[in-house]
């Protein structure tokens, strides 16, 4: 059964259609890439699944239950983790605090005013940090982390909630090529191990064709192609509006 089912999702801004009648589904452990030109409606689609935007039409089902139009918080509670295009972590906390924070929220322990945070869910937090390879940096401030490490921290924070679905908006934006593939391989491993469905947008074709199981192509708010790497690469419409000749994107 699919983790995420999106049906007939539509959204207009001021009379201009940003997304029109988009439908797709993601299975457990599957990595689905959403690509398309700038302004094709990828972010709008993403934000409707994540709860930042309310769709005009259509439905979003998570494990069969509707989450259409829920607030980002409710969607998180329902089992959706997310990472942001521009990294967003809690800057006034250490790396470990960041994960502890997510764990406290997951265990519904936020509204406690007395017992200090220090020492709570330590083992679980450290295990998550170890999974993304950040155990050595647990006590550092997030502000001094390298960019690639911040991205991995975001992944650990998102996984703390034991999500069924992971939304990643341009997860490798701003990273060096070698780090990009590393981060997505890590995501791939976590997704497979835990059966998490992953939906991500991306502009790096190396990453897209390397790690995704399936690719959706959006143009002007409409799905124009869907399939595996080879069929997308061979699709003349996709070449025309998005991929180009491949001269500047590694021959894809």
């Amino acid at each position: 059964m699919s983790v995420l089912v999106v049906q007939g999702l539509s959204k207009s801004f001021g009379g201009v259609q940003a997304v029109g009648d988009v439908s797709f589904a993601v299975s457990p452990g599957e990595m689905l890439a959403l690509i398309g030109p700038n302004g094709a409606g990828k972010s709008t689609c993403f934000n409707m699944v994540g709860g930042q935007l309310n769709p005009d039409k259509g439905s979003v089902l998570l494990e069969g239950k509707p989450i259409t139009g829920f607030s980002p918080r409710a969607i998180s509670r329902a089992g959706v983790g997310r990472t942001f295009q521009i990294t967003a972590t809690f800057g006034s906390m250490t790396v470990r605090d960041n994960v502890q924070m997510a764990l406290l929220s997951h265990h519904r322990e936020i509204w406690q005013f007395w017992r200090p945070v220090a020492g709570r869910h330590l083992a679980e937090a450290d295990a998550l940090l170890a999974q993304v390879g950040l155990e050595a940096q647990a006590d550092r401030a997030t502000g001094v982390l390298a960019y690639g490490d911040l991205k991995r921290l975001e992944l650990a924070i998102a996984m703390a909630n034991r999500p069924r679905l992971l939304l990643m908006d341009e997860p490798t934006a701003g990273m060096a090529p070698v780090e990009r593939v590393g981060l997505m391989k890590l995501t791939r491993r976590l997704a497979t191990e835990r059966g998490v469905a992953v939906l991500f947008t991306e502009h790096d074709m190396d990453v897209v064709f390397d790690v995704s199981d399936r690719i959706l192509v959006l143009n002007r708010g409409v799905l124009i192609a869907e399939g595996d790497g080879d069929s997308i690469r061979a699709n003349p419409a996709v070449r025309e509006i998005y991929l180009g000749t491949g001269a500047t994107s590694g021959g894809h």
Binding site: N38, G148, G174, E179, G244
Partner: protein
């Protein structure tokens, strides 16, 4: 040398970002700064244009020492800066954005006008009165470059112009840069997309943790399999 940077050191708070950074660019050359995120590419550019004050080092532009000068003075000497993440003025129209960048023409160069820029970026010519916020990412990126060219710079610092753009737009960007190069413009490019850089640059400087670890021509970099594997992992 049009620009020569020597022993440049820059700190953010206590973090030592640039450590004895050095590079040179001859007039008419396109040099690319390669390196991963956080290696110091953007900081190098910001230090050159004066947005970040270097703690030590020399930056000579056309023989004049400019390190420590204010950004607007450096810009007026003929140095253009195109930042990463496309900072167009969102409320201003295309024409107004260009107006902000306008500086007097420099001797010996054909001055840039909006009309000439629209030949280079035909898309922009079709949306003269559109505010920046209603343009797509690719159009915004072209506008930031056009806006900088309005200052008639001799050297342009281009910070990751391909980042976050669709491959087909990146191709257009590469063609625009080649066109600028043929006009005789000198360009320092920061990139992570080696495919893109390879198509436009003459020479490369690879940085890692704020230091130069490799420098040479693009041709030499293509031949140096070991360097590419070691520093760029491709």
């Amino acid at each position: 040398m049009l620009l020569s940077v020597e022993g440049l050191n820059t700190h953010y708070g206590r973090a030592h970002i640039l450590q004895d950074m050095a590079l040179t660019i001859a007039a008419g050359e396109v040099r690319v700064l390669l390196g991963r995120n956080g290696a110091g590419k953007s900081t190098t550019m910001k230090s050159i244009i004066g947005l970040v004050r270097p703690s030590a080092g020399r930056i000579a532009f056309d023989g004049v020492e400019i390190a420590g000068e204010e950004p607007h003075r450096i810009a007026r000497r003929g140095l253009g800066y195109v930042p990463e993440d496309r900072r167009v003025f969102a409320d201003l129209t295309v024409m107004e954005n260009l107006e902000v960048g306008r500086q007097a023409a420099r001797g010996g160069m054909r001055p840039w006008t909006p009309e000439r820029l629209f030949e280079l970026f035909p898309n922009l010519g079709r949306m003269r009165d559109r505010p920046g916020e209603r343009m797509s990412g690719g159009e915004q990126q072209m506008l930031t470059i056009a806006r900088t060219l309005m200052g008639n710079p001799r050297l342009v610092l281009l910070d990751e112009p391909s980042e976050g753009l669709a491959p087909v737009i990146v191709e257009q960007m590469a063609n625009a840069i080649l066109a600028l190069k043929s006009e005789g413009l000198t360009i320092l490019l920061a990139e992570q997309n080696l495919h893109f850089a390879g198509g436009v640059a003459d020479s490369a400087t690879v940085v890692e943790k704020g230091r130069v670890v490799w420098t040479g021509t693009m041709k030499a970099l293509r031949a140096d399999e070991a360097a590419r594997t070691k520093y760029l992992a491709v």
